[in-house]
Symmetry: C2
Subunit: 310 residues, 2 copies
């Protein structure tokens, strides 16, 4: 199973002091200063989405049908990362057997009995819902959307705020022509750079690939190597706090979304909220008074442009 | 497996027009007017929590350890409702077998191979995280908390906004003495009644019990029958949009939370956001201009009392 990467005890104690609770499952609870910072970050990204592209907000469920994810071969590419929501077979004999126990063994593992068939996968990336939602659309203008979700990724190890089994992802997506998708990413990256500069956070934009299972067997991985389509904003040398992704017609073709009669291109900007929390605390320390307020910063950026971003 | 209860096609078409997308898994996506209403409702409940009791907000993960839930025998009481997050055994042979397929069968069901042991249960009610979070606390004053989470409950059937596999629950919790817990519920119910009156929503407060598996074998169910501890705000004769619950020392004892040296009593107010959406649309129809704005309504209620609620 998975293990926890040791975080320096001093660092973990500091994060606790500003509102982190850490579960050995690889999940974080937030309250106090860290929760307020997380909310301010999300408001900043929503404002970026609205002021930049008038993107419409959507809220999607915690899971989505495997059949939809398989349109883009998700489970072939990332079977090691997926988490599935399962239920017990609902017949009374099976439920009674489960209840007879031990239910939970001495190691804390559930002792499950017969499972009901399941169709769903817990959200692996927030934007998957958006392509599925707009399946079979014929767009006569670029479509800009934004959504936030709790995402699940099984990993070999977990580390507070840096690498979690479940975490919060805000995304902004463009569906349009190739030039619209590229223009969206260019402007998005440049605005994110300005935001980061105002927040005092240094990042390097690096070419990256997704963590495919058996990458050399994956045409998508080979494509990512041939033509860089994923760039990550890397803080402190090793922590990707955001990414800018060009998908070409991958989602447009597989979800039958067209733009001016051709398969739509798509692109997304993704932000890992917990990792931004880590970066701010790493940069400014544990006095919340010294932290920047990302939502106010973004509001000032919008005001300074007189709303002329679009 | 579960089935869908038929909603009148006209009603479903109306809900779609104001921003509902409905998945056959029993889950809702929101955008446009319904999403804005959902956000306003949650702001109203947060304001109620803050203005009424200075309750601290916490944000918790999507799942919690079964071992924690078993302190209150949750899986004995509600095995039929639980959903578990599971992963494949991570060895390469097992992942290869899964990928060889079919991965998803013609009915849309996943064809899973060997599963890794799992410890977690997807959140069944938002407040469970709060008792676990404050385990072993010795309180010298009542503790008021609020949290929102996506909750999973497996049901025999699903119906849009009314009964969902996953849905959004906002809760306000009091941990304190018996009189503090009872006082919290009294004031909470009365404030919720005022809010409902201003919103033009009629409810009846009804005595209810939780949906125990084999209720007659459950001491907790028998206790709920002997002394009513759960009251539901029922809209339209059959839709519980909120509940007020007195837990006595149930959580205080099992999580070792004390108040003035005695096991703490607890109580919670719970709001099912999607059900409030249904009630507003049922009452006011599909012209969002005619809907009330719950956050403004609550803000006016707070202003009218001059902040003297506490």
């Amino acid at each position: 199973m998975t293990s926890l990467r040791e975080m320096a005890p001093d660092r973990l104690a500091e994060l606790r002091r500003v509102g982190l609770s850490w579960r050995s499952s690889g999940q974080a609870s937030l309250h106090g200063p860290l929760l307020r910072l997380a909310e301010s970050l999300d408001r900043a990204f929503r404002l970026l989405a609205t002021a930049g592209w008038d993107a419409e907000e959507e809220r999607h469920p915690a899971s989505l049908p495997a059949e939809l994810l398989q349109r883009v071969h998700y489970l072939h590419s990332f079977p090691h990362q997926a988490t599935f929501p399962v239920r017990l077979q609902p017949d009374e004999a099976n439920l009674d057997e489960f209840r007879r126990g031990p239910v939970v063994d001495p190691d804390g593992h559930l002792v499950l009995t017969q499972l009901a068939p399941t169709r769903d996968v817990l959200t692996p990336a927030a934007c998957h819902h958006l392509y599925a939602q707009h399946e079979s659309s014929a767009l006569d203008a670029p479509l800009y959307l934004t959504t936030r979700n709790t995402c699940f990724r099984n990993e070999p190890y977990y580390e507070p705020l840096r690498r979690q089994w479940s975490f919060t992802m805000r995304e902004i997506v463009c569906l349009g022509s190739r030039s619209e998708a590229i223009g969206f990413l260019d402007r998005g990256r440049s605005t994110v750079d300005t935001l980061l500069k105002h927040l005092g956070l240094d990042v390097d934009w690096c070419v990256a690939t997704d963590p495919f299972f058996r990458p050399l067997e994956s045409p998508q991985y080979l494509m990512q190597r041939l033509e860089p389509t994923k760039h990550e904003a890397v803080y402190g040398g090793d922590l990707a706090i955001g990414s800018a992704n060009l998908h070409h017609e991958h989602f447009g073709e597989n979800y039958s979304i067209s733009r001016a009669g051709e398969p739509a291109h798509s692109a997304c900007l993704a932000f890992g909220i917990e990792r931004w929390l880590f970066a701010v605390v790493d940069r400014y320390g544990v006095q919340p008074e010294s932290w920047p307020d990302p939502a106010s910063t973004m509001q000032q950026m919008v005001s300074a442009t007189g709303g002329q971003w679009r």
